[in-house]
Structure formats: structure tokens, C-alpha cells
């Protein structure tokens, strides 16, 4: 359960300050599939980063599964990012020198899972995204769609109940995009909460509900 109450985010650069989010209140229930839409610069990524515990709001309250996020320490937030929330980025953010296998394994290493469990889970995920044969390749040797599937597998490594995807298909052709969407839809059917940012109405059509942002505010 994700509850945002009056969330504000102000960026200060030098003497200038920019209000990226102004009083956002949103509730996302368990098992929902939400899409967030809005023009460029409307604050979608800023909002996703706050939901994903990567960034902190300037004001307002964020309650995640009855925990006030503002009260958590850095390492507690790291644990949330590690186990509770999987994050998929528009630009994949894979480690360039690590293989597909190692990239997927990373969150499990930080969780201290043992070698056998890691091997089993990485194998399972690689098969699920259909890239087992590519396990030894580095991101630079994979296509964009393949890289995003690896990133998705990484986000699922510790089997988090919540999956956040910031324009997961933004850098992909429509076929690769549809493949990713098929996987996301399956994951939602399995019971995961999914929040996805997109510019594309076809992509947004996969979701149950759309939240529209304009200039840092929810418009619908």
C-alpha cells in the first residue's frame, strides 16, 4: 500500500528554485496496475524516485505499508529498495562491465542470499525473460530490448511486491516494448503492484488506472 500525502519537491540550483512537485496526494492499493502520464518536465520521474525511496520529498508524508518513509535510516531505505521495490529505469542502468548474470545477481548479493539460491533464482529469471543463452554477455553486447529485460529480471531478483518502471519502453522499438509489457502484465496478474510511467497511450492502456501529472500536480 502506497500513500502519498501533500508531497512537494523543490530543487534549488544556485539562487533559483524549481517546484517539481506541488502537493501530490496519491493512494495506490496492493495489486494495482497504475500508469503515470504527463508532459515532459511535469515531475513523473521525480515522483517515481520518491515512491521508489531513491529520493526524499521536500515536504509531505509518504507511508509505505504503514511505515513512514521519512523516519527510515539510509540503510533501512536501502533494504526497502532491495526487497520491497523493484525499479526499472528508462536507460536500464545496468553495470556495464558485469555480465547479464552478474547484473541480475546483484540485489541478491546485497541481501546476503547464498550461492545456491542465487544460482537457482538467476536461472529462473533468465528463462522467464528468455535470455538464458545470453547470461555471459555484457550489456554492450545486448540490444536495448534485451537490456531492459535483464534490468527487469534484476528488479525481480528478490521477488519484491512492488515494481516501479520509469518509461520502461521509452528507449525501445514497439515490438520490444510489447514484449516488456507482456511480462509486466503477467507480473501484475501474479499479484504484484505495478506503477509505470509512459508517454504512450497504447502502453498506458495495459494499466487499470492512469494518473495524469501537469506541472507538478495531479490533474486526473
Amino acid at each position: 500500500m502506497i500513500e502519498l500525502q501533500d508531497i512537494t519537491k523543490v530543487y534549488r540550483t544556485g539562487s533559483q528554485s524549481l517546484e517539481a512537485l506541488r502537493g501530490i496526494s496519491v493512494k495506490i492499493g496492493k495489486g494495482e496496475f497504475i500508469s503515470i502520464m504527463g508532459p515532459s518536465g511535469s515531475g513523473k520521474s521525480t515522483l517515481m524516485n520518491i515512491i521508489g525511496c531513491l529520493d526524499t520529498p521536500t515536504a509531505g508524508e509518504y507511508v509505505l505499508d504503514s511505515d513512514k518513509v521519512a523516519g527510515l535510516t539510509f540503510d533501512q531505505l536501502a533494504a526497502v529498495r532491495n526487497r520491497k521495490i523493484g525499479f526499472v529505469f528508462q536507460n536500464f542502468n545496468l553495470l556495464p562491465y558485469a555480465t547479464a548474470w552478474e547484473n541480475i545477481e546483484l540485489p541478491m548479493l546485497f541481501d546476503g542470499k547464498n550461492g545456491r539460491r542465487r544460482r537457482e533464482r538467476v536461472t529462473e529469471l533468465l528463462n522467464a525473460v528468455g535470455l538464458y543463452e545470453w547470461r555471459g554477455h555484457r550489456p554492450s553486447e545486448l540490444s536495448g530490448g534485451q537490456q531492459q529485460r535483464i534490468a527487469l529480471a534484476r528488479a525481480l531478483a528478490n521477488d519484491p511486491p512492488i515494481l516501479l518502471a520509469d518509461e520502461p519502453t521509452g528507449n525501445l522499438d514497439s515490438k520490444s516494448g510489447e514484449e516488456i509489457m507482456a511480462i509486466l502484465t503477467d507480473l501484475w496478474r501474479e499479484g504484484r503492484t505495478i506503477v509505470m510511467v509512459t508517454h504512450n497511450d497504447h502502453i498506458a492502456a495495459h494499466s487499470e488506472r492512469t494518473i495524469r501529472l501537469f506541472d507538478g500536480q495531479v490533474v486526473a
Binding site: N49, G52, L54, D55, F74, D75, A78, A79, R81, N82, R83, F87, F89, N93, L94, L95, Y97, A98, E102, L106, P107, L109, F110, D111, R154, A155, A157, N158
Partner: protein, 411 residues
Amino acid sequence: MIGIFFRNLFRDLVRQPLRTALTLSGVVWGTFSVVLLLSFGDSVSKAQMKRFHGMGQGIVLVFPSRTTLAWQGFLKGKAVRVTPETVEAIPEKVPGIELISPEFVGSRLISYGRKEFRNTVRGVNPEFELMRNTIAGKGRFIDAEDMTARKRDCFIGDVLATDLFGTEAPVGRNVLIDGVPFLVVGVMRTKLQNSNYNGQRDERCAFIPWTTYSSLYGAKYVSNIIFRPRDLGRSKAVMAGVKGHLAKLIGFSAADPDALGVWDTLDFERQFTTFFLAFTVFLGIIGSFTLLVGGVGVASIMRVVVEERTREIGVKLAVGARRRTILWQFFSESLVIMILGGLVGFGLSAGALQGAKAFPAGGFTDFVGVPVLNPLVIVSTVLILLAIGVVAGMIPARTAASTDPIEALRK
């Protein structure tokens, strides 16, 4: 994880070979300096201590002098006179003395054939040998029978032996001391000696029984007393006992500071030890500064590495790495560089010290000894290396660990 770690490290080290070489060389050179300076300091200390022990080990020298306080009707300035019999009887009255010998000293003509030298002759008893390290290399030292029979036997220093006899074997031959024939019974084993009193160094002296000395030359009062306390730590207390005993017996104030001149070599040795410890520590500090420069190099290179890998740090934080995971990653990388440099530095210095062994003994090595890689040097260097490595590694690692994930991902 381990695999990734080493691949990472290897990648960082290999991608910029010149940078790696420069960083490593700082640590290598620093370690090399610390090891060499410490082992040099250590060997100089040991060599000097050995030379100091050349005069004797654990001994107290007592020189009867003149009183400087009036005492029971005597004016000050009275000569303190001690007979050799009094000296040998001291242990019966004063506890805690292991060895004691009276000593007469005089300069006399010693000749063999046509060779003649004016050298120091010392009249002593057999206990002198152990106290003063005048160990027999050939033959023997003065013995008990020489003493009781007042034999005209003499024991000579190794340099005097070569001066008189050249290549001939001295033991069993006769020399003349002030025209009186003496049988050479032994030659001193060569030793290094950097301290001395009353006359020439032992290598040029002749040693004869004090009984012979006093009957032959009519000497009644010893020029000095030499003793070794049983417990070396209690030399002060034993000396106070000796002084009190002699004061009562001979008649001077036990509080008189100058009636007996005292050279407590144990006291001296303690100062000597402290001085050379300070000397070695000083050298170690100089070396540490060199190593510190190497450490600064590692720290600044690691700063650059952290900067280059900000994005990687961001990704790791985003998928749940804790601060200490990031901290440890960069800290251990710095430490590996330090250890690598340290190992090479140790290797090089071990080679250099192996080379130092090739210096011939004698001359210069008598003063500085032969530096070796002993456990003390190794342990000190490793500790210095670790201390500097921890500081040098911690600074960039903390920078890395305090990265903001969002800022890092934007890079």
C-alpha cells in the same frame, strides 16, 4: 561477489597502467624506505651495543679517590686507599655480588726478542675474564693457581700478541715485562670494544695475577675495583652496600659523593639502549613520511576512481547496497593496492639487504652491523603500512559511501 571484486580491481589497475605504476611505486618506495631505515637503525644499535659489551657486560667500576667531606677528625682531601685483600673480602660482607676483582694498572715495557713496547699491564684475578669479556682465544686466562703461587704468568691481548710474535704461536713462550720473564699462558679472543678506562684497550694489554703484580712492583692499593651484581637490576643497591662497607672499613663518610668514583655501566647501558631506540624510531618516522606520501598517492587515485565510478555506485545503491557495502568495496581496493605495493617493497628491500651481506666483515660493518629483515622490522613496517593504508583507503571510501543515489544516477 569476490569474482566481481577482483575483476573490478583488475580493471581499474589495468585500464590505466601508468597511473597504477605511479601509485604502486609510491607505496613500494615508501615500504622500501621504512624497511631499510628500520633495519639499519636496528643493526647500528646492535653493533654499538656489542662494541659496548666489549668492555664488559653488567659491570660496575669503582675508582677510589679523595674524600670531599671531613670525617671524624680527618680533613677533607684524604686519599681513599683500598687493598686487594679488602676487595676480595667484600662479598662476605655485602650480599648480591656475583663476581669481583681488584685491578692494578701500570704502563710497562714488554719485550720479546728485539721487539719492545710500552703497554698497559693489569693485575687482576680470574673472575676478571668473564666480567670484562677478555675471553681466551688460545690457551687460558689467569687461574687460581697463578694467584696463590704468585706465578709469573701472563695473558695478552690479541693485538699485542701479533705485535710481539707476528706469526709465531705466543702460548708457551716467554716475554719480558720490565725485564722480568713471564710465561704467556693465553691470548685474548678478538673483540670489538668502544669504551675503556685507565690505559690501553684490552687488545694491547697484558694481564697478570694481582698477587704477582703487588709483590713484584710493591703496589699496595688498587687503582680500581670491578664487580658484577648477581641481579643486574639491583646494581644501585649493591653499589650502595659496597660504599657503606668501605666507608666504615676505611674511614670516610658514606655520604661523601666523590670518595669513590663509580661507573655503573648498567646505568650507561640503559641510556645507551634508550638513545638507540630513539634513533631507530626517528629513522622509522622518516621512512614513514615517505610511505605517507605513497599513501596520499593511493588516496588521491582512489578519489579519482570513485569519481569515475559514481554511476556504478548509484546503480548499486538503487538496487539496495548499504553504505558499508560501498565503503568496504573501495576501502578494500585501496588496501589491496597498499598490500601489493608493500609486498613488492618488502621483496625489493629483502633483495637489497641480501646484497648488504656481501660487505666484508670488519671496518665499516663493525660500526653499523649488517642490517637484516628481522621480525621486529617486519612487524613495525606492516603496522605502519596498515595504519597508512587504512587512513588512505578510508578517505575515498567514505566519499564513495556518502554518494546520493539520485545524483549518481544522473551522471
